[in-house]
Symmetry: C4
Subunit: 220 residues, 4 copies
């Protein structure tokens, strides 16, 4: 190919460090913006310590959804960092998969606020689940694209192992999230509790996540 | 030149890494602040799932302008990252071109909020277009300045090719944005839709943006 | 161990640079969000310079808690940066200890706003102290975990010295913070003042913190 | 000195990269938060394009103070980046000088909002000036401390030249800012205009700032 044939798209988006930097930035802000949703109750009626504790307990829905969203972002950030520990090149398409992924990251504070405001509505659970689903989907496509275009620092067997682990993880996690979301047809708090338990499992690796386990493909 | 003749301006702004870091920071925050504009509707009248979905549909103008602005920032961030994949030195003037560019980045959440609040006013479209135009203009001047002062890691033919691609891209994109803005004299939603289609084209490279194309100077 | 036995948890969270990047991001935002709590008084009744100065003096509780929280974040950021100047590897567990640490960082603007709104309530002091205590606890566990799993760049005697210094620092600081919190049973402003004095001591190293001191284990 | 004598203060704050990262983060956020102060006017009475343009013109005080503050942050960020292009080591004291500098950075959106709300009050100008003065003072002390403790990558003559340039710059700029602030005794808008002109001069290097000038110590 002649140099003079190169187009903007062929030269755009090849610097992995910048992609990592903007991603860490967006995650850091989304993680911190979530807290803006927990507004300090300002009530004239608060006169005693008891009143204040009562008002604080009234923040429970917001604290729950804050916690769930912090965990969600933590899980997806870990997944993103994992992918880029292997991705060493990029092109404009991978760049845009990443930007769309970040779009769903930056939208999470909104769907979280929506959920905590309307925690008893199925539609709020649906929107929240849709956000998590989109994050998983785009992150998966992102990895497959990077694999197909040889942007990784690993190859052959090693690549297959990592792709296998990532695929299992995303499929199992998304199945569990979908089940969690569907639980809203029984009860919304049950639904959110289930989602938090999934997340705690992934964060704390309660079931089978220990580093020295040899056969734990289920709860990877 | 004697050392003792050196002035503050001659020693300022030579570290490209810092320039990239502050730029990624500003972009990351602007990308995330945009979502603050999509406020959760808080209405006493929301009693059923249907009410909530109806209220959510009422957010359409804000969701549209959020999406358009996220794309805008993504496109300009990609352009900025592209330039700095070639720029390896800087001086205080280039530093300030970059800071003015960041000023127009940080202002975009405002012009976006202005647009989503007054989506049926031509003046809101004008302000929004002016913001995009300023971003393109400053980014272009930024590149030309870097070229003229030999701050690039490439030279000669290669530099000419990259400059050509960047110039074509900015000129064509800005022409399309101007057409999009002028469409507001027919209808504002048409205008915004046209801008979003331009952006989707740049993001998804629908027309001719594929890496293996040899002759696609139009839609680079 | 066979490659095919590796699980997601075994490959996740090994890149220290990303952990440092997201942490700096969260700290930077938390530090800056704090200021959003100091709202500009908007009063119709402000007519003279005297009125404005009076209104500004009314911000004292918010300025005090802003200052205390900025110092807190500064102290914990310094502690975090110190740890990562020795930590050169990570695993998914350390990654999650860090994320939980960041959760308590991102929550501080909320507990600070809560404190400045209810500065005369013991429960507000308690919440604020709980936040500082959690920061100290998680950061300590984080270090011990990294030590036990040989993630450090130092070993043997040197490791023991650094662990000793970090342990003493956290234990003494947390003891002082607890005393400060308990002072609220006398007076809340006394409590906050005591906490600010502890922080100033750590920041300014007033007592025995000078670099050339040889024996100052108390005020390290 | 024995290892066992080392205290927390002797091991804290030596990683310059982390200091640069948190600083870029705080600057990026402060630069972007400024725009939150320019709130979109939401008025029922806006019916025509003319009404909207009129409402937009009403934002002039906020746009002016936004612009002034963006320039201020840009100037101080450039100064900060300049210092760290020479500083290659740090200790806990330098770390804390930097954190206090960042405190005044993160407070600027507040003093700016205060100014734009009370643009006709001398006290608002005074607070704003005090913020700029503190930024200059701490940044200067920061440099002198780094110089005295041999944390720089340059020495001898070269160090003297850079210190001279930095000193002249800060002294002249601060003198001009003080004059600007004092102009409020004539008229507040004159005061702000003068400050913006100073900033534009530093940003655009209108008077004598060109790179090839040999003798321009006044307007460095």
């Amino acid at each position: 190919m002649h140099q003079s044939d190169r187009t903007y798209n062929q030269i755009a988006g090849q610097k992995v460090q910048r992609i990592e930097a903007i991603s860490d930035g967006v995650f850091a802000i989304a993680l911190t913006l979530l807290v803006l949703d927990i507004r300090v109750p300002v009530l004239e009626s608060i006169k005693t310590e008891g009143d204040l504790m009562h008002a604080f307990r009234g923040l429970t829905p917001r604290l729950l959804s804050y916690f769930a969203s912090f965990m969600t972002l933590g899980i997806f950030w870990t997944g993103h960092a994992l992918q880029y520990s292997y991705i060493e090149k990029s092109d404009r398409n991978l760049n845009w998969f990443n930007l769309f992924f970040l779009m769903f990251v930056s939208v999470l504070p909104f769907t979280t606020a929506f959920l905590s405001e309307y925690i008893e509505f199925k539609f709020a659970i649906f929107l929240y689940w849709l956000n998590i689903f989109s994050l998983g989907l785009v992150l998966y496509v992102h990895w497959i694209y990077a694999t197909k275009h040889n942007f990784l620092s690993i190859q052959g067997d090693e690549e297959a192992v990592v792709t296998g682990a990532i695929t299992r993880r995303i499929v199992i996690a998304q199945t569990l999230y979908a089940i969690g979301a569907l639980l809203c047809f029984i009860n919304n708090y049950l639904s959110i509790l289930f989602i938090i338990i999934i997340q705690l499992n992934y964060a704390l690796a309660i079931f089978g996540g220990k580093m020295n386990l040899k056969k734990s493909s289920l709860k990877t």
